[in-house]
């Protein structure tokens, strides 16, 4: 993927737009684009952390137990009436 930034047209709430402008005016961000770029980066980080958390938990499971539970689920699913 290219590192060149993509140009997007987005619609945001007026209060968020005003806040982004305020951050730039106060020198706390270099541009409105940078504000939204940073915000999306933070969301991506949180989403990755959430998925990592699930994987960490799952890694502690006993595979044999999980395999038996999965087989039990499949047997019940096979017995359900077709939609």
């Amino acid at each position: 993927m290219s590192d060149r930034k993509a140009r997007l047209t987005i619609t945001v709430d007026p209060r968020l737009s005003a806040y982004a402008e305020q951050l730039v005016a106060e020198g706390r961000a270099s541009s409105v684009s940078a504000v939204f770029n940073d915000a999306l980066s933070e969301k991506a980080r949180r989403d990755r952390r959430a998925l990592d958390r699930l994987r960490e938990i799952a890694a502690q499971a006993d595979p044999a137990t999980v395999s038996r539970m999965m087989a039990h689920i499949d047997a019940q699913a096979a017995a359900l009436p077709q939609r």
Binding site: R46, T65, I73
Partner: protein, 156 residues
Amino acid sequence: MSEDAGAVPAPYVLDVSVLTAVARADAGVTSLILDLDARGQPLVLPALAMVAASLDARSEDADDALRGLEQLGSAEVAPLRDADQAARLAAVIARTGLDPWDAHVAAVADAAICPILTLAAAKWREHSADLDEPLHVIEIADPGEAPGDSGSEPDR
């Protein structure tokens, strides 16, 4: 449902007991859900059931785990979208006496004709007769485990 080899299976609606187990970092249940996702099994997360699981745990780790479920490729959150869905949920609550979060699970499963994935099948069987169509339930259990020896089932 089509019998084509590539047909998408009916989604499983995760109930409060399963979501609470994930929020409480139950390794077996969490691993099972990840395995279901990995094989392309659609999973539905009723928004109000997620509320109940978050309320039960009240921790950042728990909310991360619930947020992680939403990131799974085969998972989708079922919101309470509009007035029709609100009225339908109210009707399910009135008919079954279920808590709003459990009723949201029932309403989603009933509307989409999907099985409920649960750690507490007995509760759903009790309420199934209150609805027009019977609820279909798939219980998470380890058949190799001695009865009453489950470490997975939360209080709900």
